[in-house]
Symmetry: C3
Subunit: 408 residues, 3 copies
């Protein structure tokens, strides 16, 4: 037997933070705050309903300011002196561009490192030396990595540097392995907040008129807000980190019910740890294998208040999965016009995108239905990320003179 | 025999616009206008002499403003609130950088997607979903694609979105397959406009003095402007989309004569459709196989008013071409100092660049001749693209206070 | 025997400048100046102690201005009308990002070409045509190339263009082959200037108090400034171009002594030409094979005033080197806490970075020692490059209104 390879400095760097990584979320979250704000954004557990409301308010303000030239000038004047590093060693176009646009809305200059093979790492540099280099030149690091806890470790590194009087900058996690993608959860929540505000017809499929929905369409008990609603998740529940993060955020709202619709296959169905964590919080969890399976005696598709579709992440299959997955009748987990027509008239359809044209979980003919909210959801991501950046950098969006925005 | 592969959503998306694609240019052009301006820039047929004059005027104004710091500040203040996406899935450095610089002159922030393999398309996303993503985050899409009509289809997509009340942004075609490259034709025309203005000695090889050319050098009938002149094109006439586009634009000026100098080989000589279209418009078309072949009884090289050289595009050879092309004596299609010395003293030499050092269509010793206009042509491309962007975005370059520019 | 391949235009372009390349540095340096400033920055021999002092002063001013928002706004207002091209055909992250940040501090917009395979060069374009293209669109070219004298030739090209009345822009050499890397030497010197100012405790390991060092710690003769000190260089002396450049710059200061600590191997020890040039200038040169070897009767590690560590550049090994290099006991050329503890308390440890975690020339436990100056050195690189850009572009940093910066 060969002896194990000796540890590299990269290995030792991660081990150094091992004891901090294994603490409960609550214990860790406090370390990622400073001055009453988030200092680093690492996991969705940092996002309380209170903070989510504040960020949504900021995002709403930014989008209104963006409707006038004077408002746009105010926004790009907020942080032209800030330089961001987008360090994306895991391929991503959508999240990357969304963050770029979010930075640019606030005037922040963007820099990027995307291909690790062109970087100093090929000369033997450790990841942490690379991160310290970025923190030397830039004011903010937005990072996406295939290594599960790397962003969290980088936040600890920054905190340690600060404690020793060295330069330190905020870390924003833009996706770390199969683990966390907090800003995706953030934009999903923001989209639901907009929808269930029932204010803007474009954001709320049911014409945006709560009274009408209550009186003319039979939804007497319908209330504003995220609480008390039934959320459906369909597709790859096991490997979709966006499902995990969004479910955990929704769990913080009273009276929600979460319905998971997925084939009963170990690579797709809900993982035990998520079910346990949701039940610990007292959330009603329902697991179904079809849109037609019943909730409260009626087919699920007719009962849910919002539907979150996902792509089956074939690229994360393990050896041996192909055969058992091929036996599944996936047609049951694709949306169709017939299914959509049975959904509640105000229920939005979300998808973290990209959708998969070959799998076809959302056929394109659905795009024109007012319930199809996934394109607005993408643009919401830009606004809420801009709001998050403003929050982290302490930019005062509310300081805009009255009258600058379109409808302020 | 294998059954044909089923259509993908990408295939269906293109088929969806099939009937619009096959309409005559005039019918289509109207759809790419809005508010009396170009909304999308897709093919050179959209560029009338009237519009070409207006754009040249804007470009002249921009370059004058760029000569003072106050003028530059005015320009970068025009659109700092705009974010452009340069979506270039076909390799290009020159066109790409020229558009980057053009955007930056106006303060526009640039973003890019160049390598399709890092994009969401690898996750099964359709091209149109990608384009809608870009239109969610950015205010303008400048695209270059190997797929012939993709830019045109994207413009239809944007129009359809607008019609349905969704967000929609302008599309600018920066080269689509072997098909169209309208902004290259635009910069070629702008270079000819500058040259035949006879105003600036740097732009007009013959010292820029029309009177002198008429009286001292025997060009009595010489007039300002593009009309009535003889334009020579040499090299790869068949596959050079820049030749096609420029020839069609020149055809709109009265009295022009177009001379094509190329080996008589099916991969190089003029395609029938171009000859037909030019003759339909009443343009005099002359096809020669050497610079020495006669026009009006004298060698062509001595008769042309402007010479457009091109690179033989070996990368577009088809199987079997190599042998028949190897039999051609290409030395006849390379410029030399001896040939240049016989050209009219005011006749500019243009080339869309890059030139090919191995083929040698323009040897470097010619660079110092005042007729060598190809480097200024490149810089002209930056100015006229800035003018086009200003036009499409409705930026008022003429609003600059008097005195800001160098010679306004 | 095969006949030699015919010369390409690229070959001829380089040969064209052959006679200029082989002149002495002093003769060349004059051509790279204009208006009393550096016009092109090509080799470290252009950097006199007088100029180094001026640049350090500018860098100090920029970093102070950067500490307030008003100061930052002043800085980004200096050159928002300038567009830089970073043309890096040799992989580099650190130098690249440092220049990006330096540009952005001054408001300069950055553009990049990094992968030559996507460029027009694949279509047969010469390097000089590419450079002229860049100079058409941009105001400044910062270039890094594996070709030793390319940057210098590009500077000649620009000078020739200017002489002929054509557009011409400054060239900044960001590393050319194994040859020159003048801005690295610049940041090394700036770091030593800061350290030996004894003003800021963070820059000067010995608490920054010269009097204390003299009186309480036995360094009676210690003076401010770079003159009269002993500089140690350890590692890859032969192939480290940063060592060569820094050594030559230090040679211009009176009374310096340079100590080179490296295995006696032809691929690592000092090259004869460097030794000759240093001795010509009257510099004391000492070559040792260990930190323990004696200077003035005491181990070198205890005698040096500053230690410059380097990475062994395995990627530049030649065939056959592997075996003879494997026989060397490299543990002697790695720093350790034990060695650091014996260094003078004020002696900084520098490293051009990246360091190599596998070779381990600087183990990470040393990072917390106040003498570890390599992370500040990296950030110093950003400030001094910004100062250099301001110098080359003629930006007046000193024109900032009093009171803008933190401590001005």
């Amino acid at each position: 037997m060969e002896p194990p390879a000796p540890l590299t400095q990269d290995d030792r760097d991660l081990l150094h933070y091992e004891t901090r990584l294994t603490r409960p979320v609550a214990a860790k979250a406090a370390e990622f705050c400073a001055d009453g704000r988030l200092r680093h954004v690492i996991f969705s557990g940092q996002l309380s309903p209170h903070l989510l409301d504040a960020l949504a308010g900021t995002a709403d303000r930014i989008r209104l300011l963006s409707q006038t030239r004077a408002g746009q000038d105010f926004l790009i004047g907020l942080a032209p002196h800030k330089r961001a590093m987008l360090y994306f060693t895991q391929p991503s176009t959508r999240t990357f561009l969304s963050f770029m646009a979010a930075c640019q809305i606030l005037g922040i200059t963007c820099n990027e490192v995307r291909d690790p093979s062109t970087s100093s790492e090929t000369k033997g540099e450790t990841r942490f030396d690379s991160i310290r280099m970025f923190s030397s030149y830039f004011d903010l690091i937005i990072m996406r990595s295939p290594i599960a806890r790397l962003a969290e470790c980088c936040a600890y590194l920054m905190n340690d540097l600060e404690a020793s009087g060295s330069r330190s900058v905020p870390i924003i996690n833009a996706g770390s392995g199969a683990d966390e993608h907090p800003t995706q959860a953030l934009l999903d929540i923001y989209t639901l907040q907009r929808t269930f505000n029932f204010e803007n017809p474009k954001d709320s499929p049911g014409a945006g008129k709560l009274e009408e929905l209550r009186k003319q369409h039979g939804f007497e008990g319908l209330e504003r807000g995220l609480a008390g609603k039934t959320y459906g998740f369909c597709g790859d529940i096991c490997r979709g980190r966006t499902v995990r993060s969004l479910a955990m955020l929704l769990a913080a709202y009273p009276g929600v019910r979460l319905v998971f619709i997925t084939p009963d296959h170990p690579r797709l169905r809900m993982r035990d740890d998520l079910r346990d964590r949701l039940r610990e919080r007292g959330v009603a969890v329902v697991e179904l294998d079809s849109f037609e399976a019943a909730i409260d005696g009626r087919p699920a598709i007719e009962q849910i208040d919002a539907l979150y579709m996902t792509r089956v992440q074939k690229e994360h299959n393990e050896p041996g999965d192909a055969e058992s997955l091929a036996a599944i009748d996936f047609s049951q987990y694709r949306l169709s016009m017939a299914l959509v027509s049975r959904m509640k008239r105000y229920a939005p359809i979300l998808h973290p995108f990209p959708r998969d044209q070959h799998f076809g979980e959302i056929p394109h003919e659905i795009d024109n239905d007012p319930r199809a909210m996934y394109f607005r959801q993408a643009r919401n991501g830009m606004w809420i990320r801009a709001a998050l950046l403003a929050h982290v950098l302490g930019l005062d969006v509310a300081a805009a003179p009255p009258g600058l925005g379109a409808r302020i």
